[in-house]
C-alpha cells in the first residue's frame, strides 16, 4: 500500500525499532546510504567466477567465416567449431556422427566438446542448418547446457532471416538477431568466453 506522507517517519522508526539494537544502522556502511563512490572502494576485491567453458558452433559457411575472424583473439576457454556437410545431417543424427571441425580443419567430436561446457552459442546466417541446430541443441538440453542462438543478418532480405530464426527458435533459450558480425566478439566478451 502507498505510504502516508505524514506517518512516514513514524513508520520508518517503527521498522527500525523492530530490528532491535544489533541491526540498527549506526554506520554508513550498515545502511543503504553506503551506495557512494567512497564506500565502493571498500568492496571486496577478488575473482568472483571461475573460467567458463564456451563452445561456439558455426552452422553454415558464412557463419564460419564470420567466426574465423575472431578465433585468434584471446579467449578464456572458448572453442570455435564448424559444422561440416549440413546436408548430411538430419534431426535423427546421433551426436557422435555430427561432422564438426576446429578452425585449423582438424576434426572434433561433439560429445567431447560438450562435456563440461557451460554455454553453447549457435551461429547461423541462413536456414540451411536447422537439423544441425536441433541435434546440438538437443544434446545441450539433455546435458542441461544453456544454448543461445545468434542469427547474423546478411543483406536486407527478411525472408532469409526468418528462415534462420525459425531454424533456431525451437532449440535455443535465447535468440539474438544481429545486423553486424562484430556482435559476435561483443557477446562472447560479455559472457566471459
Amino acid at each position: 500500500m502507498p505510504h502516508d506522507h505524514d506517518d512516514i517517519f513514524e513508520a520508518d522508526n517503527a521498522t527500525r525499532a523492530d530490528r532491535g539494537p544489533v541491526d540498527h544502522p549506526t554506520m554508513l556502511s550498515s545502511c543503504a546510504r553506503a551506495a557512494t563512490a567512497e564506500e565502493a572502494l571498500y568492496r571486496v576485491q577478488y575473482p568472483n567466477s571461475a573460467t567458463r567453458t564456451t563452445r561456439i558452433f558455426a552452422l553454415d559457411q558464412a557463419a564460419a567465416e564470420a567466426m574465423y575472424a575472431i578465433t585468434d583473439d584471446l579467449w578464456d576457454n572458448a572453442h570455435f567449431l564448424t559444422v561440416l556437410g549440413n546436408g548430411k545431417i538430419t534431426a535423427d543424427t546421433n551426436s557422435y556422427n555430427v561432422p564438426i571441425s576446429h578452425p585449423d580443419g582438424t576434426p572434433a567430436n561433439l560429445d567431447a566438446e560438450l562435456a563440461g561446457a557451460d554455454v553453447v552459442v549457435l551461429l547461423a546466417t541462413n536456414g540451411s542448418s536447422e537439423a544441425a541446430a536441433e541435434v546440438i541443441a538437443r544434446e545441450c538440453f539433455d546435458r542441461k547446457i544453456m544454448c543461445a542462438g545468434l542469427a547474423l543478418k546478411r543483406g536486407p532480405s527478411s525472408e532469409s532471416m526468418d528462415r534462420v530464426v525459425n531454424s533456431m527458435r525451437r532449440f535455443t533459450r535465447v535468440l539474438v538477431v544481429a545486423q553486424d558480425d562484430d556482435y559476435i566478439p561483443a557477446m562472447l566478451t560479455a559472457l566471459r568466453a
Partner: protein, 428 residues
C-alpha cells in the same frame, strides 16, 4: 563483463565526454511542464548532463533554459526576479531573456551596448505533451521536435512523472530492458497493482517462469521479445522496444494504460527516471490517474515538495521483511519503481561492470551496450548522427500478443510495435 574503458565511455555524460556529446544530439526531457505552470512563475533549478541550469517561463509564455549563474558575479539566478520578459539577478539587476542573452545591465550606460556582449549559455526548451524538452547540442545538429506517442496524445490520455534516482543512468536504463528480472522482483505486483492486475496475460506470466528471449536489432535500437507458453502450443509474446539512447516501453497488460521510461543523466552519479502512462484511444479514468499519483504502476511516492522518492537510501527504502516473507513483495520493497531503483542504487553510483557475470539471458543488455558503443564511437570519430533522433524511430510501441509458434514476432507484430494514432494497443 565490460572493460573499464568502455564502461567509462558509456557512463560519463558531462560536456566533452563522448556519451555526453551523444546525449546532446537528442531532445531530452528536462522538466515536467507543471514545474513552470504560468507566465512569470518562479524559476526552477535543473541539472542535466552535468550542467547546472535554470529554467523559467517569461511574461510571454516562452520557456528558457540557461546557465544557472549570473555572468556578473556568479550568483544563482534561482534567486532572480522573473519579470517583464526576463530573469533579473537580484544582486545588481542584470537581466537575461529566455535565450540567455543579457538585456539589461543597470550600472552601465544604456547606450554603451555592453549587455549585448554578455550571454549565458542557453538551450531551447519546448513543450510537447506534459513535458518540457531540451536539446543541448549544436543548433545545426538539432533534430525535429520529439513525437513520442505518450507526449502527442490528448492531455486527458497521458500522465508523466519523474523521480531522482541516485545512480548512473546506464544501470537504471539497463533495468528497463532486462526482461528476465520481472518474474522475480516484480512478481508480487501483477496480482495487486491496480495498473497491472486482472489482465489475461498475467496468467501466462505466472504459469511460465522461464521465458525464452529474442533480441532483434531495429533501426532505432532494439526489440526485446520475451516468449512464454500459452494455450495449445501457442506462444505469449511480450515485446519491449528500446530506442537509443534511453527510451523504453513496458509491454501492456489488458486494457491498462501503456507505460514506459526515459533515463536522463543528471550527472555521472545521478539520473532522472522519467515514467509515463498513456492510453492511445481513451482518456485515463479518474481511478487510473489517482493510482498513478499515488505511486502505483511505474510511478512512486515522493518526499513532499521534492522529486526524491519517499522510499530512499536514507530510510533503507522502508524495507518490509514481513512482506518479503509473505511474498506480497518479492524484495520487501513497495512499488515497481522503487523495487528497481533500490537495487540499482545499491550497485553504487557507477556499477563496476568489470566484475559482473552476465549470462545468455542478458543479451538485451549486451546488445544495447554494443549499439551504444558503436554509436558513440561513430559520432566521436566520424560525426555520424546516432539512431533514435528521427520521427520514424520514435513512432514505437510495446505490445503483447499470442502467436503460433512458427511466426517471428518481428513480422507478425510489426504493426503492433508501431505507434498509430487512434489505434488501440495490442495487448493480452
Amino acid at each position: 563483463m565490460l572493460r573499464k574503458e568502455i564502461n567509462e565511455l558509456l557512463t560519463e555524460t558531462d560536456a566533452g565526454k563522448p556519451m555526453g556529446d551523444m546525449f546532446r544530439q537528442y531532445w531530452i526531457p528536462a522538466l515536467l511542464a507543471s514545474e513552470l505552470p504560468e507566465d512569470d512563475c518562479p524559476p526552477t533549478r535543473v541539472k542535466l548532463l552535468g550542467e547546472r541550469l535554470i529554467a523559467f517561463r517569461d511574461s510571454k509564455g516562452r520557456y528558457g533554459l540557461m546557465d544557472e549563474f549570473c555572468a556578473h558575479r556568479g550568483v544563482s539566478l534561482w534567486f532572480g526576479r522573473n519579470e517583464e520578459d526576463g530573469l533579473r539577478c537580484p544582486y545588481h539587476g542584470w537581466k537575461y531573456d529566455y535565450t540567455g542573452q543579457c538585456i539589461e545591465v543597470p550600472s552601465e550606460p544604456e547606450e554603451s551596448g555592453f549587455c549585448a556582449k554578455i550571454k549565458l549559455k542557453g538551450y531551447p526548451l519546448i513543450k510537447v505533451g506534459d513535458v518540457l524538452w531540451t536539446h543541448m547540442g549544436e543548433k545545426e545538429d538539432r533534430p525535429p521536435a520529439p513525437i513520442w506517442e505518450f507526449a502527442t496524445v490528448p492531455p486527458e490520455q497521458t500522465y508523466s512523472s519523474k523521480r531522482w534516482q541516485e545512480c548512473n543512468w546506464l544501470q537504471a536504463m539497463e533495468g528497463g530492458i532486462d526482461s528476465s528480472h520481472v518474474s522475480f522482483l516484480h512478481s508480487g505486483g501483477l496480482k495487486t497493482d491496480p495498473l497491472f492486475r486482472g489482465a489475461k496475460g498475467n496468467t501466462y506470466n505466472e504459469n511460465d517462469k522461464k521465458p525464452v528471449f529474442e533480441v532483434v536489432e531495429s533501426d532505432g535500437g532494439l526489440h526485446i521479445g520475451a516468449r512464454r507458453n500459452a494455450e495449445e502450443g501457442h506462444y505469449y509474446w511480450r515485446v519491449t522496444p528500446w530506442i537509443m539512447p534511453s527510451f523504453t516501453m513496458v509491454p501492456p497488460r489488458g486494457d491498462h494504460p501503456m507505460h514506459g521510461h526515459f533515463w536522463i543523466p543528471i550527472d555521472d552519479h545521478n539520473c532522472w527516471a522519467w515514467s509515463f502512462d498513456y492510453h492511445p484511444t481513451r482518456a485515463l479514468s479518474p481511478t487510473e490517474r489517482q493510482a498513478m499519483e499515488d505511486g502505483y504502476g511505474v510511478h512512486n511516492q515522493y518526499v513532499p515538495g521534492t522529486f526524491r522518492p519517499l522510499q530512499n537510501k536514507d530510510n533503507d527504502y522502508l524495507m518490509d521483511r514481513e512482506a518479503q516473507k509473505r511474498g506480497d513483495s518479492y524484495s520487501g520493497i513497495w512499488g515497481i519503481a522503487m523495487q528497481d531503483a533500490s537495487l540499482q542504487e545499491s550497485m553504487g553510483p557507477i556499477v563496476d561492470r568489470t566484475k559482473e557475470n552476465l549470462v545468455s539471458t542478458d543479451n538485451g543488455i549486451i546488445m544495447a551496450r554494443h549499439r551504444l558503443r558503436k554509436a558513440v564511437v561513430a559520432l566521436r570519430d566520424k560525426g555520424v548522427q546516432p539512431p533514435g533522433r528521427t520521427p520514424e524511430h520514435q513512432l514505437v510501441r510495446s505490445a503483447a500478443r499470442v502467436l503460433p509458434p512458427e511466426e517471428p514476432f518481428g513480422d507478425a507484430m510489426k504493426d503492433d510495435l508501431t505507434a498509430r494514432p487512434g489505434v488501440k494497443q495490442t495487448s493480452v
